[in-house]
């Protein structure tokens, strides 16, 4: 705890009465800090002693009524659960809900969307005996999903919603999905919940897991909610055409882009990289991934990687044409069968070529090998982790300066999923001349580019895309270059800058490192 007793906390509160005020404003209140102080304490103090007109909701004080969700320092949270840890705190109402007054928002539109899915048990035939036989595990999962307290923090946090003007614009949001998943899971429910999930936007989720992070009850919305619903949809063949193609391509060619298998290693043909299947042994397998193998722009990233690893004297090899898709996007698209097949094939490959350590370009592959694959003693690293180790060991000699102001966009599967926040920043800071600036939302609070969860192959609903919002945010800190460490983020952000017509180069960290060597 940084704060001591008797210190003042600066509380910046959003104030707005749409009926009486012309525009919203912020008011700042000084509140004395007391140990274990929550945001609720501060707001109650203000209302009782400084300004009785401050409007906010609260009721139970123990995280179950779901009324008091607001944005604390930009992050949706329950005020009764959030302890004050900084000297300055900004409290905003949940977005993008219409404001009723100050911190109170009108939640009707989300409630109507929920009502629209018929949020009640629908069955024609009553139970023959009671208690009705239900699998213990199913009941436990049901109880987990049913913990939702309707605070709508997830709705506000979701990059597919917060970018839109209105809650009704497109995706119905994590809260609706979790309710649909609950009913879909319920063996008693006879309604067609999967179809409802499709029309409410089950294929709008980027699996960024922000909803899970802000959920006061830690409900696993991306996995038990959306991925489960997508699996049901895949079983029935209800998948958007573009995603269907990606799945089919992966099945046929081992990559979602529908490229020929025998051209997978072509990007490296002028580089004389060790090809492990051709009998070359190496300490480390560099797992390139589908997009860096085929996409002309991202191939640059793979080539930069080869250059840097060589300069650092790392003994590495690739699988060349034998490399297969890691399956991460397929799993998130709901094609569990295909994913399992890819897992088996990849593990067989690794075993066949005695691979002990893997370094990946993409955080998606990294997360899949690390968390989604069965544990087989494989050592997996994202390249930023390896690089930061190499820098520590003094194996990378920077000889050139990169005179640029750079801002770094955290890929969700690196940051939020695996807590890798520091290595990328360490690499950037080690590059001579480079000045790192942070975007308003960074690290834990980072905002998804909109490209994860298989969304590379699905059209986003609604007017404004997430990549555009993120590109604008990046522009706001006036960088010369936007850096990231994920092929999907790179593509998405480039799209974003194209749409807002700003010429800001987006580069992978490895490309910046290459420029500096």
């Amino acid at each position: 705890m940084v704060l001591k007793k008797k210190k003042k906390v600066k509380l910046r509160v959003f104030r707005y009465d749409p009926i009486e005020d012309l525009s919203p404003r912020y008011e700042t209140f000084d509140v004395s800090y007391i140990p274990h102080m929550t945001v609720l304490d501060a707001l109650m103090y203000v209302r009782k002693n400084l300004d009785s007109s401050l409007a906010f909701r609260y009721s139970c004080r123990q995280w179950v009524c779901g009324q008091c969700a607001v944005k604390v320092n930009g992050k949706p949270a329950l005020i009764c659960k959030t302890s004050i840890e900084d000297e300055e705190i900004t409290v905003d109402p949940l977005t993008p809900f219409p404001v009723v007054r100050d911190l109170v928002v009108d939640r009707r539109k989300v409630q109507d969307r929920i009502k629209g899915i018929k949020p009640f048990l629908m069955r024609k035939n009553p139970a023959i005996k009671e208690p009705e036989p239900i699998d213990i595990k199913v009941a436990d999962t049901f109880v987990h999903l049913n913990q939702c307290i309707d605070c709508y923090a997830c709705v506000s946090a979701c990059p597919m919603i917060s970018t839109k003007k209105d809650v009704t614009d497109g995706f119905a949001g994590p809260v609706t999905m979790i309710k649909l998943a609950k009913f879909a899971l319920d063996p008693r429910d006879e309604a067609d919940r999967a179809s409802a999930a499709y029309s409410e936007g089950a294929y709008s989720c980027t699996a960024c897991a922000k909803c899970k992070e802000v959920c006061p009850w830690d409900i696993d919305i991306p996995t038990l909610g959306i991925r489960y619903l997508r699996q049901l949809l895949v079983e029935r063949g209800d998948v958007p055409k573009t995603a269907q193609d990606a799945l089919m391509n992966t099945y046929k060619y081992g990559n979602p882009w529908g490229q020929r298998k025998d051209r997978r290693g072509e990007w490296a043909k002028d580089f004389n990289v060790k090809n492990i299947p051709k009998g070359k042994n190496a300490d480390i397998l560099y797992y390139v991934g589908c997009t860096p193998s085929y996409d002309p722009r991202i191939q640059e990233v793979a080539r930069a990687m080869v250059f840097v690893l060589r300069e650092a004297g790392v003994d590495f090899g690739i699988l060349g044409n034998e490399e297969m898709c890691c399956g991460a996007p397929m799993l998130r698209l709901g094609e569990k069968g295909l994913f399992d097949m890819l897992v088996e094939e990849n593990l067989n490959l690794f075993e066949k070529y005695n691979v002990k350590k893997v370094v990946t370009t993409s955080p998606h592959s990294y997360n899949a090998f690390l968390n989604d694959y069965p544990k087989k003693g494989l050592r997996v690293q994202h390249y930023t982790q390896l690089l930061s180790e190499l820098i520590d060991e003094g194996k990378i000699n920077f000889s050139k300066k990169v005179d640029a102001v750079v801002t770094y966009h955290d890929p969700c599967f690196l940051g939020r999923y695996n807590d890798v926040y520091e290595p990328p920043r360490k690499i950037l800071e080690a590059i001579p001349g480079l000045k790192l600036v942070e975007m308003p939302r960074n690290k834990e609070n980072s905002f998804c580019c909109g490209g994860g969860g298989g969304m590379m192959w699905v059209d986003e609903l609604g007017e404004e895309r997430a990549c555009v919002v993120r590109a604008r945010e990046a522009v706001s800190v006036e960088p010369d270059v936007v850096a990231t460490a994920c092929p999907f983020c790179l593509s998405s952000l480039e799209d974003g800058f194209k749409i807002i017509d700003k010429e800001v180069p987006v580069k992978d960290i490895i490309e910046l490192v290459k420029d500096a060597i």
Binding site: D17, P18, I19, E20, I34, P35, H36, M37, T38, L40, D41, M44, R47, K48, S52, S53, A55, F56, Y58, S59, C60, R61, Q62, V64, C65, Q67, C80, K81, S83, V100, R101, D102, V104, D106, K115, K118, P119, F120, L121, P126, A127, K129, E130, P131, E132, P133, I134, D135, I136, A139, D140, F142, V143, H144, N146, Q147, I149, D186, W217, D218
Partner: protein
């Protein structure tokens, strides 16, 4: 002004209200609405630990007798025995029904619910839902109500019940979001507004239990009963102020140890210490010490605090350093995440490892009294019904853990909903007395329109403190008389001059509070008067001037009613259908020795304590 026509209006969106609404909506001719000043579901229902007493379920099923006897012992013979019995007979059905509504209970076997034994004075098996299940019960009821087309009016605060000579005609309220006055025209009005624990400065329940239902019903001439009783819990947190009274580490102990080790056994090694460093339970109950009953602990702790031997924040120190480390380990491991995080929010790591004493104090947890109802939820006014914590009849002086959810809210909810619906079926559209509505409108808007007067928040704090000090755990004639005088003065002189600084109409919390304060102040007077009337000690009404239970004269309910000429207070005889007083185990009579007030300077002690 919006006029909303609904055949049945339920005020309050907790379990009791929702269950009543569900039942009423079973009649297709009727339109049913639920209005709540909070969200739906809301109130204290969602906060419950989720304990149900169920007859005939589980590996060692409890019988009706088991639970009935325990209920009567807890209620000290002031229960409506017929109501308890009937609801127990129907209770299991009501719990099974939850799965039909969409709830899913955690299972031990595929076709067996998860059971959990909680320590009770008798033999009943409590059937507890794992994982804060009570919230999910409320969810199931909400979903079922949506399915049946019950109309929800969240954040519509009902401010008055309207009646004519023929009975209830509807209610008036404010739509909080727009700040507009609304009128409901209904033949049946069900009050399910919960209890009045927020009348006290430290309450375990949600902050919206301000006794609105009691006050509204009382004003139209409904009979209230047992209003002097308040149930207390002795071990709640005192810090930070917003979360005061929210969490009770000893209940957490009970949940974590899972029934095989009782809390009382743990308490064998616990020491309660005041600021003088005294193990003060030696004075109050030298035999049982910290293992004494909850009533005794509450009185002892309250008395220490009252006599300035408590901590600055108004509590005592619970020293758990001598409890075997293994129990602490099991406690910390056994807690579910919610409890664990809640405790971490308010206690330091050292305190949670029991290396440092925990500072705890008593808080109000339940109001067993309320609007007097019969077995069908009817009050003395035709068309006006009450259910749940707003009603009186089921619990006597205190509720038995597990009775609130199962038999009070669900079983009585169903019965009340049905009665209310049948009443509405017989009636034509009611005639609203527009003069009375207009008067109510003026009353409600007055604080908003007044330019100066008494500050709403100050009066609220004043009432809560006065209630805690003088109509709290220990009461006496002098204190009660002073309190009554004070509340009378407030009701006559101060309440009519309440004003709000905030003049906006939309979502004006100060305005909402001003209306609540009017209800609170009336309730406070009622409670103080009832407490003064009962010249004995029983359950949560401890009179230090009459510390003994007086069975000969006081095995009766206290009735209080507004009649022409003022407040009338009287006794209501009870019918002992199944058990005569004394048939089964009385809680032992207990006479605490009170000590003279500490006369030294408390701040010296507080300094010493650090």
């Amino acid at each position: 002004m919006d006029v909303i026509d609904k055949d049945v209006l339920v005020i309050g969106g907790g379990n009791a209200g929702l269950r009543a609404a569900i039942e009423a909506s079973g009649f297709p001719e009727l339109s049913v609405a639920v209005a709540s000043k909070s969200m739906i579901p809301g109130g204290a229902s969602v906060m419950s630990a989720g304990v149900f007493n169920v007859v005939g379920l589980g590996p060692e099923p409890a019988t009706i007798e088991d639970i009935f006897n325990d209920t009567i012992i807890y209620g000290d013979y002031l229960n409506d025995q017929r109501m308890v019995r009937t609801c127990l007979e129907e209770g299991s059905e009501r719990v099974m029904e939850l799965e039909r509504f969409g709830a899913m209970q955690p299972r031990r076997e595929t076709d067996q619910y998860y059971f959990f034994d909680v320590v009770t004075p008798g033999t009943s098996k409590l059937y507890r839902f794992k994982n804060r299940y009570a919230w999910q019960v409320a969810r199931a009821l909400q979903e079922e109500a949506i399915e049946r087309g019950v109309e929800f009016y969240p954040e519509v605060m009902i401010t008055s019940v309207q009646t004519s000579s023929n009975g209830a005609t509807g209610a008036t309220g404010i739509d909080m979001k727009r700040g507009e006055f609304v009128v409901f025209r209904s033949n049946s009005v069900v009050i399910a507004t919960g209890g009045g624990t927020s009348l006290y400065k430290r309450a375990y329940c949600d902050t919206s239990s301000t006794g609105d239902g009691y006050a509204m019903a009382f004003k139209v001439g409904a009979e209230l009963a047992n209003m002097e009783f308040v149930q207390w819990i002795w071990n709640t947190n005192l810090y930070p102020p917003a979360l005061e009274g929210r969490t009770d580490p000893v209940t957490a102990l009970e949940l974590a140890l899972g029934g095989d080790l009782t809390v009382k056994e743990v308490l064998r090694n616990v020491k309660f210490v005041n600021v003088l460093g005294e193990r003060f339970m030696e004075r109050y109950d030298p035999v049982w010490m910290e293992m004494a009953t909850d009533d005794v602990l509450c009185v002892a702790i309250f008395n220490e605090v009252r006599q300035r031997r408590g901590t600055k924040k108004g509590g005592i120190l619970m020293d758990l350093t001598e409890v075997p480390k293994e129990i602490n380990y099991r406690w910390r491991k056994g807690l579910d995440r919610h409890w664990s995080e809640m405790l971490h929010q308010i206690f330091d790591e050292e305190e949670l490892r029991w290396e440092k004493p925990l500072e705890v104090g008593p808080a109000a947890i339940y109001s067993p009294g309320g609007i007097k109802i019969n077995l069908n939820g009817e009050t003395n006014i035709p068309g006006l019904y009450a259910v749940g914590a707003a009603s009186c009849g089921m619990h006597g002086t205190a509720y038995l853990a597990g009775n609130c959810l199962g038999i009070d809210t669900l079983a009585m909810g169903k019965r009340t909903g049905e009665t209310a619906a049948r009443h509405a079926l017989k009636k034509a559209t009611p005639k609203i007395d527009w003069n009375s509505v207009d008067k109510e409108r003026k009353r409600v808007f007055a604080p908003l329109e007044r330019e100066e007067g008494e500050s709403t928040y100050e009066i609220k704090t004043y009432i809560q403190n006065l209630m805690f000090d003088k109509v709290g755990i220990i009461r006496n004639e002098k204190g009660l008389k002073e309190a009554i005088q004070d509340f009378q003065r407030l009701n006559e002189e101060v309440i009519p001059r309440l004003y709000t600084c905030d003049k906006h109409q939309s979502y004006n919390i100060e305005w909402k509070t001003a209306i609540e304060v009017q209800h609170m102040c009336l309730c406070a007077e009622i409670m103080a008067r009832s407490a003064l009337f009962r010249t004995e000690s029983r359950g949560g009404c401890f009179r230090e001037d009459f510390p003994k239970r007086d069975n000969a004269n006081w095995c009766v309910q206290t009735g209080i009613q507004l009649k022409r000429g003022g407040i009338k207070i009287y006794t209501i005889p009870l019918e002992f259908v199944y058990l005569e007083p004394g048939d089964i185990g009385w809680k032992e009579d207990w006479l605490p020795k009170m000590y003279p007030e500490f006369s030294g300077n408390p701040s010296v002690l507080h300094a010493k304590l650090k």
